[in-house]
Amino acid sequence: MSAASGTASDAPSVTRRGGTRPGALWWLAVPALLFFTVFGVLPLLGVVGLSFARWNGIGAITPGGLSAWRAVLGDPGLAHSIWVTFEIMAVSWLVQTPASILLGTFLAGPQRYRAFLAVLYVVPLLLSSAAIAVTWKALLDPNFGLGAGLGWDLLSQNWLGEGALAVGVVIFIVSWQFVPFHALIYQGGVRQIPRSLYEAAEIDGAGRVRQFFSITLPQLKYTVITSSTLMVVGSLTFFDLIFVLTAGGPGDATRVLAVEMYQTGFLGNQMGPASAIAVIIVFSGLVIAQVLRRLGGRDPSASELEGM
């Protein structure tokens, strides 16, 4: 079939059209589209469908009407999961964003040692969430962990055994894992800020702090939106880390939506309600992403002129 698309070397009428022959290439996209349709698009429709069905994960799937939704929405456990999810989302955003902006601005400098530090920062990004959870669980163990070994009482608390502490630990580990990623995004953003802005500010006598708040931060507006979207939407799907670290515990203190979905579906054998929770996860993500996009305005090119 490829031979058919070869043309004679003297065909000026075709060259004039910029080298495109509509339709001749469409089949090249078929394998990728097929794969993604079967394992991405169909499951997305399927999860909505399954939320209106009864299925225990093994047997036959029967229509269930609204029963799954009624069960999920009437369950106080769901409200709690939503609360925990949004608590972790909000606090980890509050922790990660200033830290990432600060580190990103720092990394954007041209010094060699900063590039070296960046190499080290990325190590947590390379580890699987399972490995990170296993490590921190050992590190924070009240009897065998670092705190006990050093004999520091402050460090040897029952970190994962008390609800409020466990939530704090999850937020800390999430930041440990993802701050470097967002710092790299901010590093890219800072490097794109026109130098002339800083030169003008310097002539006007603005100090470093003033420059940061009057130039760097406003210029990073769209980077903040991008990074926040990834952070917030990503936190809706936290599963591996929390599942290995606490399995949602102690009690239900860290049972976020994704863990609740797993436990309802794969441990409780109620795939209908679990699918309903999955729909809530997808829907929340889309809504939040849209809201953040609105907040950021529609014209990303405007940022170049801001403050000039």
Binding site: A32, A130, G149, G189
Partner: protein, 301 residues
């Protein structure tokens, strides 16, 4: 070869797709007094490296030495007991499973994504290709966690539960959207004249794709390969949901079960963490730039 494309390749710089502007004028002012950033930079290095250091030294301690010694000091005698124990616990099998799943998913995913990207960029105004492109863009917003139940259903119905293939197929699918985004942006930057001259030489689109576009896209291909390999290698959810048989486990899931199995034998748990991470670190040492640009691909603005 890539210099002919005239565009900055993602490998130029760590995170900036436009290429680094390292203004000499700012150097002075940045050096002057960003003490807060400097402090944060060094503090963060400690926050990252102290646990990493602790993992490595502790994994070389014997179990009794671990409880008796200062946790921040290296062992008096470096012991390989923990590593021996982990390797004897079927580690090699899990490692092989991870290699099969990662390679089996990434090679087809990247090739298919490349072909699709080529078609999307070079196929002109075609309704099917526009539709494909929007499906892939929409796909960026579908999290695997949220659709895992139907994926599980599909894999059971395909009778692929408890097989490595069952983990490979969804991994391929979820590697495609970002790969297409990155690759098609890259192919778009190849100058038109190069395609023209290929065609004037009588090359078919198929030949042009493999002989011209493929080598020119190499930096981006390396980026998406490394990035997707990392994601697949570290995937925990797919083996958790799609396997039951311990012989089909991949490393992240094995790590979880090691933790239950070894319990208070902390050095063994940490040795298994080191062993599962080692291949990634080797990869990172080889392809650091490509990996970093992959991690932040598409989020430049």
């Amino acid at each position: 070869m890539s210099t002919t494309t005239r565009t900055p390749t993602p490998s130029d710089t760590v995170a900036s797709p436009r290429g680094p502007e390292r203004p000499a004028g700012r150097r002075r002012s940045l050096l002057r007094s960003n003490w807060l950033g400097g402090l944060a930079g060094w503090v963060w290095m400690l926050v990252v490296m102290v646990p990493v250091y602790w993992i490595v030294i502790s994994s070389f301690k014997t179990q009794s030495n671990f409880f008796a010694s200062n946790p921040m000091l290296p062992p008096d005698e470096w012991s390989l007991d923990s590593y021996r124990l982990v390797i004897e616990s079927d580690f090699v099998r899990y490692f092989a499973n991870s290699v099969v799943v990662t390679a089996g998913a990434i090679v087809p995913a990247v090739l298919m994504s490349f072909m699709a990207s080529y078609a999307i960029v070079r196929g002109g105004d075609n309704r099917f290709l526009r539709l494909s492109n929007s499906v892939f863009l929409m796909g960026l917003a579908i999290p695997l966690q949220a659709v895992i139940i139907p994926v599980y259903l599909i894999i059971i119905r395909m009778r692929m539960y408890d097989t490595l293939g069952g983990m490979i197929l969804p991994s391929i699918a979820f590697a495609i959207p970002l790969s297409v985004l990155v690759l098609s942006n890259f192919i778009r930057d190849v100058p038109r004249e190069l395609f023209e001259s290929m065609r004037l030489d009588g090359a078919s689109e198929w030949t042009t794709m493999w002989r011209l576009a493929f080598p020119l896209t190499r930096p981006a291909l390396v980026t998406v390969t490394i990035y997707n390999a990392l994601i697949t290698w570290n995937n925990f959810l797919l083996p958790l949901i799609l396997t039951q048989d311990p012989e089909k486990r991949t490393l992240p899931l094995a790590l979880w079960s090691f933790q239950g199995q070894y319990g208070v034998n902390v050095p063994a748990v940490l040795a298994s963490v080191v062993l599962t991470t080692l291949p990634i670190l080797v990869f990172y040492a080889i392809g650091r730039r490509q990996l970093l640009s992959g991690l932040t691909a598409g989020f430049g603005k």
